[in-house]
């Protein structure tokens, strides 16, 4: 039975369970819902949960386990000579799977009956051309051994699927029966249902945490490999970034990249934070409802522009402009790619992050605080400076830090605006580059994942991760300190 049907049947059983559970609960209370421990819908939901959840859980696990088990069974049929002929065990198994699939497709299209498919022999039929007719292309002629393995593979799959269908449906029915039997006016259905909901919530947060842990672990692992090949102190304290893919003479110093990242981010924040914050204050405190309803979406459009478009803007407009009117007249350089270009354009990109969030936060400050301040004869700007902004500060710090992590992680604007040359320099009109750009650079093209030149990307990634983590911890600290003092 196809998977979809199993799902539909289980869900139908679940719905039926809901109706039945509800009815039985009402019946046990003699139709008076006030006698029930919980609301009738909880009894229904309880039966539904018992019907659906265990069945689907088993179904999921089964779908993961079955291929592994079958693979193992079939692999043992393949002789060493066949493996040597094909090159590796994996390649033979790929063939087996393709032949098995091909036969299934042929049956589906009517090119073979299932009887014929089961009895097909390499001695009498050219299996390769037969399967080619139905659109399954095979790399080589099918050997009797592969065909046998494929037939066994199909057989095991068929049995497995049948068993799965039976087990899942029985489990659903059992769950329904069990929960139905337990449904009684004194049964604490609400507690069970709420426990189930709690479990879902816990699972969701666990997944989020486990993903983070997984990402960190994989980065750590690769970074560890990197440090086996390249000395850590050279990475952390090296002031030279010059990877060469040919020899062992690569210089992979982090400092020039980190410097570039910090420099660009600081300029971006210097642009974004004042503009964004002032825009937010204007919109939240001074603008009339009409202006606000037009201006806010307009500013938010900035957030919707793809960063590559910002990059183009930096490359063809801002870069040459800065070079012609600032860098060259001031004698600071002749490059149109510069930290300044990337920083300014990135700052523009970040304005809506700062302004939109700050606007919401300022709006969330209760009107009673404004009234209190006005009532004491404070002007609007005194109120904003001394009451609203301090009250909104934790949220604003959050908004700025969000913008900062965006700035640190940004790649496209830097490639197009600041260039790709790693350099430790104070001059903001000089081309520089950032950590993210180099991560991309080291992993594009033909990469050999055992060379330090490629593995360094993971060390760079981990460094960025640690930096943003540090930023977040710092934000939490600031916010908490502030709260202790004032709220």
């Amino acid at each position: 039975m196809p998977l979809l049907w199993i799902l539909v049947i289980v869900l139908c059983l679940g719905v039926a369970g809901y109706v039945l559970g509800r009815q039985r609960a009402m019946a046990s209370a003699g139709g008076d819902r006030r006698i029930l421990h919980s609301l009738p819908s909880y009894y229904g939901a309880n039966v539904s949960i018992f019907t659906i959840v265990p069945a689907l859980l088993v179904l999921t696990i089964w779908l993961f386990v079955q291929p592994v088990v079958i693979e193992r069974q079939v692999t043992s049929m393949i002789t060493d000579t066949a493996i040597e002929d094909a090159g590796s065990r994996g390649l033979v198994m790929t063939d087996v799977r393709r032949v098995a699939e091909g036969l299934d497709v042929a049956i589906e299209q009517g090119a073979l009956t299932s009887e014929e498919a089961r009895n097909i022999r390499t001695e009498f039929t050219n299996v390769r051309s037969r399967l080619g007719e139905v659109g399954v292309a095979l790399g080589s002629e099918v050997t009797p051994e592969v065909l046998d393995a494929a037939q066994r593979y199909r057989e095991l799959n068929r049995i497995g699927n049948q068993m799965m269908t039976v087990v899942v449906l029985i489990l659903a029915a059992l769950g329904l029966g069990y929960a139905y039997a337990r449904t009684h006016q004194e049964f604490r259905a609400r507690n069970t249902v709420e426990y189930a909901i709690l479990t879902i919530l816990v699972l969701a947060s666990t997944i989020a945490i486990l993903t983070t842990v997984g990402i960190v672990l994989s980065m750590l692992f690769e970074t560890f490999n990197f440090f086996q090949l390249y000395p850590a102190q050279d990475f952390f304290f090296g002031t030279e970034w010059a990877p060469t893919f040919e020899s062992d003479a690569s210089e992979l110093g982090l400092l020039p990249l980190l410097w570039g990242t910090m420099y660009v981010s600081v300029i971006a924040l210097l642009v974004a934070v004042p503009i964004g914050l002032f825009a937010a204050i204007y919109m939240a405190e001074y603008a009339s409802a009409r202006v606000r309803s037009i201006a806010k979406p307009l500013i938010e459009i900035l957030a919707g522009i793809p960063t590559i478009v910002y990059g183009l803007f930096a490359l063809i407009t801002v870069g040459p402009l800065l070079r012609d009117y600032f860098a060259e007249p001031l004698g600071l350089g002749t490059s149109s790619s510069s930290v300044m270009t990337a920083g300014i354009v990135m700052g523009i990109m970040l304005i809506p992050f700062v302004s939109s969030l700050s606007d919401d936060i300022i709006n969330a400050v209760p009107q009673s605080l404004r009234d209190g301040s006005f009532g004491l004869g404070a002007t609007h700007s005194e109120t904003v400076k001394q009451v609203i902004l301090p009250a909104a500060l934790p949220g604003i710090v959050g908004a700025v830090l969000l913008a900062a992590s965006r700035a640190i992680g940004e790649t496209m604007i830097v490639v197009l605006g600041a260039g790709a040359a790693a350099r430790l320099d104070l001059n903001p009109f000089e081309a520089m580059t950032t950590v993210t750009v180099k991560i991309v650079g080291q992993l594009t093209g033909d990469t050999d994942f055992s060379s330090p030149e490629a593995l360094v990307a993971f060390a760079l990634g981990l460094t960025l991760f640690v930096i943003t983590l540090g930023l977040n911890v710092m934000a939490l600290y600031i916010v908490r300190r502030y709260r202790e003092q004032y709220e």
Partner: protein, 265 residues
């Protein structure tokens, strides 16, 4: 009733602080205050009483233009402070509110320390020339609001961390600290125990020697105890306004009588 008011007005004309004539307030389409005339006399305590939702807070907020901050609110009629129309475009509401202070119905301490809460107004208006003077204002205000003993050891702790009744007294201290000429108090004792209430009533009485005080209250006893004048509002109308003693012993309107004796509201 009208005759009676006319008589009183004649008596007090010289030291009228606020005169309101034909005041109407609308919230969008809701007509919250209907053609109200009230005189607030200098150096007296005026009490506004009436059932919940009758417009006491609304009218109180007209007296220092706090309704300006509500978009849908519209005020008509004339309100004069010391003979000057406060709704005149020339008048700066900020200066007006410095003269006419307000304690709100719901305590709204700033998310700052207790000290900074009280020092807020004096700092803004430059009332203290140095730190010592400011300390003194803060202490005096907290003492007058009967909060000093509880707060003196925790002046640097957040005002929002106080109990509801303490917050209410903090807001009173904050309003007193700015030295207003008129103090509007919207149910200043709603969350206070009898002892604190008595202390606040004492404060109100003391303030009367220098300012005029308008107090909204749901307690008939309190109105009778602290006020010299009482205004009774009902469904947005001013039903009766006059000497407190008169209103409580000999009300001329049957609605006033039923409210005071506990039949409306």
């Amino acid at each position: 009733m009208n005759d009676m008011r006319a008589v009183e007005r004649d008596v007090d004309t010289n030291d009228l602080k606020i005169t309101a004539r034909g005041v109407d307030v609308f919230y969008g389409d809701t007509h919250a205050i209907k053609d109200v005339d009230v005189d607030i006399v200098d150096n007296t305590v005026t009490a506004f009483i009436g059932p919940s939702g009758c417009g006491k807070s609304t009218f109180l907020r007209c007296l220092n233009r706090m309704n300006d901050t509500i978009d849908v609110a519209r005020v008509e009629g004339s309100i004069m402070l010391d003979g000057e129309d406060i709704y005149d475009p020339k008048v700066d509401p900020v200066q007006l509110r410095a003269k006419v202070g307000m304690v709100f119905q719901k305590p709204n301490p700033f998310p700052k320390s207790i000290y900074d809460n009280v020092a807020y107004g004096p700092r803004i208006h430059g009332l203290a020339k140095d730190k010592a003077a400011l300390d003194e204002i803060v202490e005096k205000s907290l003492r007058r609001a009967a909060l000093w003993d509880e707060a003196k050891d925790r002046l640097d702790q957040p005002g929002t961390g106080l109990s509801g009744g303490q917050q209410q007294r903090l807001c009173i201290a904050r309003a007193v600290a700015t030295n207003p000429e008129v103090l509007l108090m919207d149910e200043p004792c709603s969350a206070l125990d009898p002892i604190a209430t008595a202390q606040i009533e004492e404060l109100i009485d003391e303030l009367r020697s220098r300012y005029s005080v308008v107090i909204v209250t749901h307690s008939m006893q309190q109105a009778a105890r602290v006020s010299q004048k009482t205004a009774f509002f009902h469904l947005g109308e001013l039903v009766e306004f006059g000497e407190t003693g008169h209103i409580f012993t000999n009300p001329s309107d049957p609605r006033t009588e039923s409210y005071i004796t506990g039949r409306i509201g």
